[in-house]
Symmetry: C2
Subunit: 181 residues, 2 copies
DNA sequence: ACCTGAACACCGTTCAAGT
DNA sequence: ACCTGAACACCGTTCAAGT
C-alpha cells in the first residue's frame, strides 16, 4: 500500500493530466488521496513544491536517456512521452519560482545520459564532430521545440509541408549525417 | 487616450511580465485600468479570452517575421524577443482551451513570412533543398526549443559545452549550409 | 453600450487542536 | 509524527441595477 506522500503525488499527476496545473487543487488532491484538504502541507511546503515533486518523479522515471540507449531510440521515446503527456511535459519545462534541488538533479542526470548517446553517435560518424554537450543541446532543442510547437498548434497548420515532431527530428539527423560526411 | 479595451490589455501585459498568468487577476487589471473589477467582462468573455487577446496582439506586433527580413535577422529577433519577455513567449505558445481565431490568424501570418525568408535562403544555397515549410519548421523548432530549454534552466547547466540559444541557432544554420554544399 | 457593487462558490494557506 | 476542522484573504464569475 502506497504511502500518503505517494498517494498525493499520484492524485496530483492524475489531475495534472486531466486539466493542467490549475486543475491540481490541494482540496481535490486530498480528497483523492483519502485525507483532508490540508494534509498535503505535512508533506510539501506548498502547492508549487507538490508540483515540483511530481515533475522530479516524472523525470526520474524517464528511460529515454538511460545509458546504452541509442540516439534515435532516445529521441523517439522523448517525443512519444511528450505527446502522450503534454501537461507533464509543460510542467517539467515550465517556470519554477522556487528552485528544487531534486528537480535539478533529475534533469542533470537525464541530460548526462543523453550527451553520452550523442558522443557515441559522433564516434560512429553519424553526427558532426564538436563538443558533445553542445551537439546534444542542438539535437535536444529541435526535439523539444518541435514538440512544443506541435502542442501549441503552431506546426504545419496548412496541409503543405506538414511535419510532425518525429519527422523534424529525422530531418535534422539526416542533415547532420550529411554535414558529417 | 487609449480605449478601455487597450488599457485592459496594457494592464494585463504588465502583470503578465511581472508574475506570469496567475498574476493577471481581473481585479488588479481593472484597478490598473481605472475601472471596476468586472468591467473586463464587457470586453472579454473571461480571463482566458483576455489572455488570448494579449497573446494575439503580441504576435501581431512581432516584426521578426516581416516580409523582406533576412533569415538570420529574423531568428535573432525571435530569440531576443523571447528571452526579453519570457512570460509572453510562454503565453503565446501555451495550451489554449478555447480556440481563438484572432490568435490563430496572427500565428499563421507570422509563420508565412518566415517560410518566405527560408525559401529565399534556399535559393541562395545557404539551406538544403526541400519543401520550404518543412525546412522552416525545422529551423523554427531549434530556435523555439533552445529558448524554452534555456528559460527552464535545462540548457548548459555545467560550464563545458555551454551554449546560449543564439549559438545553437547559428550551429544549425552552419550545419545546414554544410549539408547543402 | 458601458460600468458598478453585492453576492456566490472556490481556492491557497494558516492555526489551534487532536491522536 | 501525522492529521483534522475552522477560519481568513483572495479570486473568477454572475446578477441586478444604474447612466
Amino acid at each position: 500500500m502506497p504511502s500518503t506522500r505517494d498517494a498525493l503525488l499520484d492524485a496530483a499527476t492524475g489531475l495534472l493530466d486531466k486539466g493542467g496545473p490549475e486543475a491540481v487543487t490541494l482540496r481535490e488532491v486530498g480528497r483523492r488521496a483519502g485525507v483532508s484538504h490540508n494534509a498535503p502541507y505535512k508533506h510539501f511546503a506548498d502547492k508549487e513544491a507538490l508540483l515540483a515533486a511530481v515533475a522530479a518523479r516524472e523525470l526520474k522515471r524517464q528511460r529515454w536517456a538511460a545509458p546504452g540507449v541509442g540516439l534515435r531510440n532516445a529521441l523517439t521515446a522523448y517525443v512519444a512521452w511528450a505527446l502522450a503527456h503534454p501537461a507533464r511535459f509543460k510542467l517539467v519545462f515550465g517556470t519554477w519560482h522556487t528552485g528544487s534541488a531534486e528537480l535539478a538533479a533529475a534533469a542533470g542526470g537525464a541530460n548526462a545520459a543523453f550527451v553520452g548517446a550523442v558522443a557515441t553517435a559522433q564516434q560512429g560518424g553519424e553526427l558532426p564532430a564538436g563538443e558533445p554537450a553542445r551537439v546534444a543541446a542542438l539535437v535536444r532543442s529541435v526535439a523539444h521545440g518541435a514538440v512544443d510547437l506541435a502542442l501549441a498548434g503552431h506546426l504545419a497548420a496548412g496541409g503543405k509541408g506538414g511535419a510532425d515532431p518525429q519527422d523534424l527530428v529525422d530531418d535534422l539527423l539526416d542533415h547532420l549525417a550529411e554535414a558529417a560526411r
